[in-house]
């Protein structure tokens, strides 16, 4: 039985566990039909030309992991940004882990999607926001069909959330292979600010496939600062589907740091429904071996006087492969749009490759749009300069790679994240040198 068949037939079993007489379930039922019709994407689709899911779909994933797995904080502490006070929503094999979490209902909701989807007091929010901007393609629909658990965050008006919120999904590897479908909903109301850190981490080398969907609503003048730390084991793959709907004068920033994992596909879409909106997406990708990271971004400029900024850096070693596909759509109404896109890459090895493709669809005539992509190698004269000062080849290489990518870190607002990322990079590059910022 193919994974698709297995998932479709599992839906009935899933229905035994949820309230089928709810508007949410109507959405799920619709979604499984879409998945059944569309299935998983194939390389024949333009957006998937350079990323094949075939090898990861072959595994016999368990789609409902058993809940018998526990973890002690001390064993997984290193995956937290633990040196800051934070709200935490932690999952183990897809199930909520209350002892590792710190949620709240005190002036804001930082809690569970399963509660939001079932309890009457959340019904209005769910009716207004759930599955409203998620794409209706096969993968997102698959997630919608099985949507049950994940993070639910609702920040009321005029609230600056002082502590960042960490969302971490652990997989224990207690089963041979597991597929996870976390679903997050984040609503940030007028004038409110929030910082969120998301991470997926498997703890053994058993295969994991995560197909995650996150919907974010940044309402008027809201500020959303989102960090994705992708540093999983090379047995784990991640398809991250994140959709952001912005209202006027809101600011949404997503930083994606991709260092680990077997295959990562980031579908990141911004929709600007209002004026004077700022959307920023930045990324550092440093991979090797046979790793594959694909950034597929979309900014949809719908109204006038908005901006978008994209800056992705990639460093590819060994036989690793990268894809950057950045689409910017500027509607006819969206005059005075400023849209910038940059994708710079270094290929460290002869066998590594990157496919980069900017796609601009501009229907307005008074706009400023720029895009640029580069693919290069490390500068040999810079290497000699560093080495002539006593810095060995490996360290010199690491220093140059870090220097190449570190302007992406300038916009990281949480120093502990900056420190963590620089440590991960040093570790990834196999050096023990401080990259002072």
């Amino acid at each position: 039985m193919s994974l698709k068949e297995k998932l479709v037939s599992s839906f009935m079993a899933f229905e035994d566990t949820v309230d089928v007489h709810s508007s949410v379930h109507d959405i799920r039922t619709e979604a499984i039909k879409t998945f059944e019709a569309e299935g998983f994407p194939s390389k024949r689709q333009e957006d998937w030309k350079y990323t094949s899911l075939n090898s990861i779909l072959k595994q016999d994933y368990s789609v409902f992991p058993k809940h018998e797995n526990d973890l002690e904080f001390k064993d997984v502490k290193k995956y937290f940004i633990h040196d800051i006070d934070a709200y935490k929503i932690i999952f183990i094999d897809g199930k909520y882990a209350s002892h590792l979490s710190q949620t709240t209902h005190d002036g804001l909701d930082v809690c569970l999607m399963s509660a939001a989807l079932t309890k009457p007091k959340y019904k209005v929010i769910i009716d207004n926001y759930f599955n409203k901007i998620a794409k209706k393609d096969g993968l997102s629909s698959l997630n919608t069909a099985f949507s049950m658990e994940g993070a639910y965050i609702n920040i009321p008006k005029n609230k600056v959330v002082e502590k960042p919120i960490q969302i971490i999904h652990f997989s224990t590897g207690n089963e041979a292979a597991v597929m996870l479908q976390p679903r997050n909903l984040i609503v940030v109301n007028e004038n409110s600010h929030v910082q969120i850190i998301e991470r997926h981490q498997s703890l053994t080398d058993n295969p994991v496939l995560t197909n995650s969907v996150t919907e974010i609503f940044a309402n008027k003048r809201a500020i959303v600062d989102y960090y994705k730390i992708q540093n999983d084991r090379q047995s784990a793959s991640l398809i991250d589907n994140t959709f952001i709907n912005q209202k006027q004068e809101s600011l949404a920033k997503v930083h994606t740091f991709s260092f680990g994992g077997k295959l990562i596909r980031n579908n990141l879409e911004f929709y600007q429904n209002g004026e004077r909106i700022d959307s920023t997406m930045k990324g550092i990708t440093i991979i090797g071996d046979k790793q594959h990271v694909d950034h597929n971004t979309l900014v949809h400029h719908i109204e006038p006087n908005c901006e978008s900024h994209q800056d992705y850096k990639g460093i590819f070693d060994d036989s690793s492969t990268g894809v950057f596909n950045g689409k910017v759509v500027v509607e006819k109404l969206a005059q005075k749009t400023n849209a910038f896109q940059a994708n710079n890459n270094i290929l460290v090895s002869d066998k590594a490759s990157i496919n980069t493709k900017p796609q601009l669809e501009i229907f307005a005539d008074d706009v400023k749009c720029s895009h640029g992509c580069t693919i290069g190698q490390l500068d040999e004269s810079a290497m000699f300069y560093l080495r002539s000062r006593g810095i060995p080849e490996k360290e010199a290489r690491a220093l140059l790679m870090f220097a190449f990518s570190n302007n992406v870190l300038d916009s990281v607002k949480i120093p502990e994240i900056k420190n963590r990322i620089t440590k991960i990079i040093a570790n990834k590059l196999g050096v023990n040198i401080g990259f002072d910022l």
């Binding site: 500068d379 000699f384 300069y385 560093l386 002539s388 000062r389 006593g390 810095i391 990518s405 401080g434």
Partner: protein, 250 residues
């Protein structure tokens, strides 16, 4: 300290150095002069270990050890320092972070731990004062947007920090105004001791008014064709190189 025997080197099969012999002892300052294209910078790069150059004959001994097989960083660890004619701009790496990494990697190679932060700061402060370098300058990206003078002062600052045994200054005077020249030369003179040696590569005698050489060598077409005392530099300044070319051809 340095002994170069019959050194031949080429790049992409083009011979540049064609039999250099040179001996530099501790405590000495040697100037190497010569017209454009005579091989001066190549000699500097070959001593420092630039891999593009291939040594086809002869050898380079540093304190009796043949360094041909050593990588650039290993030569640096043994005390070789090259002040670049064109220091490379490296955006994203600050001067301070760069020099800290260089010092600690050199210490690591010698089996020592990192220099304590306090000592490092003290040293950075002292050496930057010696070269009249502003503290703000140290947090800028290495050489990026530096003026010609700033780049060269930064090179000598690095030399001061790394305390090499053998410093090779490749056209350190080019692009310097008279004040910067004075500062750079003053820095080099303060760092000079009986235990180290300096090779100054230059076109002009100007720098040699400040850093006074014990020996002057003229490099022509990949060979040292004439050596003498500091008065040779004045003679070259006055008469150019043509008379030497004629002497060689005669």
């Amino acid at each position: 300290m340095l002994k170069i025997n019959n050194l031949h080197a080429s790049i992409e099969d083009k011979a540049i150095l064609k039999g250099i012999n040179l001996e530099v002892n501790a405590g000495e300052v040697h100037a190497i002069m010569g017209p454009n294209g005579s091989g001066k910078s190549t000699l500097a790069s070959v001593i420092a270990g630039k891999e593009e150059y291939e040594v086809t004959e002869g050898n380079i001994l540093l304190e009796g050890e043949d360094i041909e097989e050593l990588a650039a960083e290993e030569r640096a660890h043994k005390g070789v320092f090259l002040s670049f004619q064109y220091p490379v701009e490296i955006p994203g790496v600050s001067v301070t972070n760069f020099i800290k990494t260089a010092i600690n990697e050199t210490r690591k190679a010698k089996g020592l731990g990192d220099m304590p932060a306090k000592d490092m700061l003290k040293m950075i402060r002292e050496k930057s004062e010696l070269l009249e370098i502003d503290r703000k300058f140290l947090s800028r990206s290495l050489n990026q947007g530096f003026s010609g003078g700033e780049k060269k002062r930064n090179e000598i600052f690095q030399m001061a920090m790394l305390e090499p045994k053998l410093a090779i200054l490749d056209e350190t005077d080019s692009g310097l105004d008279i004040d910067a020249l004075r500062i750079v030369a003053n820095g080099v003179n303060k760092l000079k001791s009986k235990d180290n040696a300096v090779i100054v590569i230059t076109h002009y005698q100007r720098l040699l008014d400040y850093i006074v050489p014990d020996f002057v060598h003229v490099l022509l077409n990949g060979k040292i064709v004439k050596s003498g005392g500091k008065e040779l530099a004045h003679e070259l300044e006055a008469k150019g190189y043509d008379w030497i070319k004629e002497e060689v051809n005669a």
